[in-house]
Amino acid sequence: MSKMNFVHPPEFKESTRHRKIEQLPPPKKAILPLSQHTGAPSEPVVNIGDIVKTGSLIARSKGFISANLHSSISGKVVAIEQSPHPVIGSSNAIVIESDGQDLKAFSETGKKVSSVSKEDIISIVKEAGIVGLGGAAFPTSVKLSPSAGKKIDTLIINGAECEPFLTCDYRLMLEKSKEIMLGVFLIAKALGVKDVLIGIEDNKLDAIEALGSALFRLRIAEQKVSMRKLKTRYPQGGEKQLTKTLLNREVPSGGLPLDIGCVVNNVQTVFSVYEAVYMGKPLYERVVTVSGSFLKNPKNLLVRIGTPIKELLETCGLDVKQDIYKIIMGGPMTGVAQYNLDAPVIKGTSGILVLNRASSEPGQEMDCIRCSRCIDACPAGLMPCMIGVAARRNRFDIASTYNPFDCIECGACGYVCPSNIELVQLIKLAKAKLKKS
């Protein structure tokens, strides 16, 4: 068993941690990409000109690892075409124009859930198009239905939120603690596990308290739920880092938490499972932290999927005259720099950050001085500099001997590198080249 390394970037959470979640009004036009999850793109079930309501199914999952897609506004389908995508540049998307009424395709009345079975929960989650909302957007129903050979004994709920700036999960834990707890019980039931561990970093003690008291009020005899305080360090919220920290189990190289009897779910995913089962509500909105170096009003916004990024930035008072250097979707350690502000919020969008030059200019790249900071920072126990130097020289044969496929692309190596070497990018390059050959 190896010892895990971590880094301690500044948190930058102060500007939004006290901002209550606000609803952003539905956009006039929603762009809903067909691939916003891990796996095969979904297949449209609507045609141009069709009238849809908020929550109507508009594209169906195709294949085992895929997810349903629902309309996030009510209105008319105006196009199914190549549109801006925040992660892959552009992709096929269903474009819907709002009728301004926001009619719902489901009734929001509470349901009797005591009678739902394990199978019901899994099929509701699948129908609702729920994917992992921590960022990876892996279809949740796949996680909830492990193959027969895999015995799951522990459900881990990920409330670490270790990326700097982001506070959306934190706010949700404070404001929707009861709902999250009910969602936890649903997922535990679907998996048939007794042990649940909820991991939250110790910079969010009030969230631990909020979930703890919700747990106390709702206590269910057959569930053993325990709250775990985690050290604030990056990337504590990585799936593999969580299983090791909480259970001292290492996910085997190339494997999934399923292989060591665990399922890990993000708190926001848990909340959407609650909404799907209790309210029949499919996944069409999520909480996004809008923050950065110099926004006037950083906020936590409940945003419809498909809302263009620029609407979020306008709401938060982005002053275009300022020295805007980068706009990022996600956190600063793993997020994707944007170039087109018409790109929409997708299911995996946890934050939109505006960074100025001083905070995010990478600086000129220099030669590696073998300082070994990246090795001491790598939570996967890799030697990033060796992969990087080999990839720089197109020696992918050498790079392959340093296990590039075990890299989780957390960005810790690039963060600490004193020579400003783009280590994550070089490792990704090595992976891509090696996959091809």
């Binding site: 190896s2 306008e314 350690m333 793993t334 990478p362 090795i375 990018q425």
Partner: protein
């Protein structure tokens, strides 16, 4: 809404503030107290040696960068200044003015630039320069000077060369009240600098601890008349062990990458130092031990890879 360019680059989008240049200047600052002690002990002639050595290194770096069609501003990274400083610390206080010039040019050209510049050299550049001078002009390199306040100005040997005569107390050795190289004599202030480097996480304890530990243990066992009677405190305080273990063996470029590798490297340096000191004809062994172990670093790196998560 935005009618200006925004930058697109890959993650991570924030960086720690510890940059190569900052590291170099912190190391330079951490070396200054011991150098000032050297100037105080041996007089202004040693300041002259230090300045000439730094200027020689910086100028030859600039010239060589231009010959290689690289940006001469690269010299501002501070590594040439550091090499010049370390070279001077390894010289006797009253060498002729051209000795640090030749040493600086050799350090930078043969020690560093010929391999491709910062990050690519195999051997510690300052030690390459020192070894070159030691072999070429052994008389100048072993003509020592006593502290300013001593009665006989020129002494024939350093404490290490006169072991057994016991004319030095540990306190003399610790404070630098004896002959020796400019930067190595004041162990007390070298340790202050070492503490700065450890606290700022610029070096880790692995190499200095294993290096010094090995030397002290082996001297204790084999260094005396009969086993387990060696004067290990004397060997710690006299000579260049502290300077070498904290400031030279820890040079990023020429030491192994992993913790395991660093410990093997430190032990190797320690064993070679003791062998040279006890069995060699030359009383000081630290710099040759480090140079020899530098050559073995690629081999150590190959067999001390890290343990990968999930394997």
């Amino acid at each position: 809404m935005l009618n200006k360019d925004i930058t697109v680059s890959s993650a991570p989008h924030i960086r720690s503030g510890m940059k190569t240049r900052k590291i170099m200047y912190i190391v330079i600052c951490s070396l200054l107290p011991a150098g000032m002690a050297g100037v105080y002990i041996f007089g202004l002639s040693s300041l002259k040696v230090i300045l000439i050595s730094i200027i020689a290194c910086v100028l030859s770096e600039v010239i060589f960068l231009m010959l290689r069609n690289k940006d001469p501003k690269t010299v501002l990274d501070g590594s040439a200044i550091l090499t010049g400083l370390l070279l001077a610390y390894n010289l006797p206080p009253e060498v002729p003015f051209w000795i640090p010039i030749v040493g600086g040019v050799v350090s930078i050209m043969l020690g560093k630039q010929i391999f491709g510049g910062l990050g690519h050299n195999i051997f510690n550049p300052a030690l390459v320069g020192r070894a070159f001078l030691q072999i070429s002009w052994p008389v100048y390199m072993t003509t020592w000077k006593n502290p300013r306040w001593a009665l006989d100005a020129v002494s024939s040997a350093t404490p290490l060369a006169r072991e057994g005569s016991k004319s030095f107390t540990y306190m003399d050795l610790f404070l630098g009240n004896h002959g020796g190289c400019i930067g190595e004599v004041c162990v007390a202030l070298l340790l202050v600098g070492a503490a700065i480097l450890l606290f700022t996480n610029i070096i880790s304890f692995h190499i200095p601890a294993s290096f010094i530990g090995t030397v002290m243990f082996l001297i204790w066992v084999f260094g005396g008349k009969g086993f387990f009677r060696g004067d290990f405190m004397f060997h710690l305080l006299a000579g260049g062990l502290v300077l070498g273990a904290f400031f030279m063996a820890t040079d990023y470029v020429t030491r192994p990458l992993t913790k395991k590798g660093k410990i093997i490297f430190g032990i190797g340096c320690g064993v070679l130092t003791v062998v040279i000191r006890l069995k060699g004809s030359y009383p000081e062994g630290v710099s040759y031990a480090i140079l020899f172990m530098n050559a073995v670093v690629p081999l150590i790196d190959r067999y001390t890879k890290t343990k990968v998560y999930g394997t």
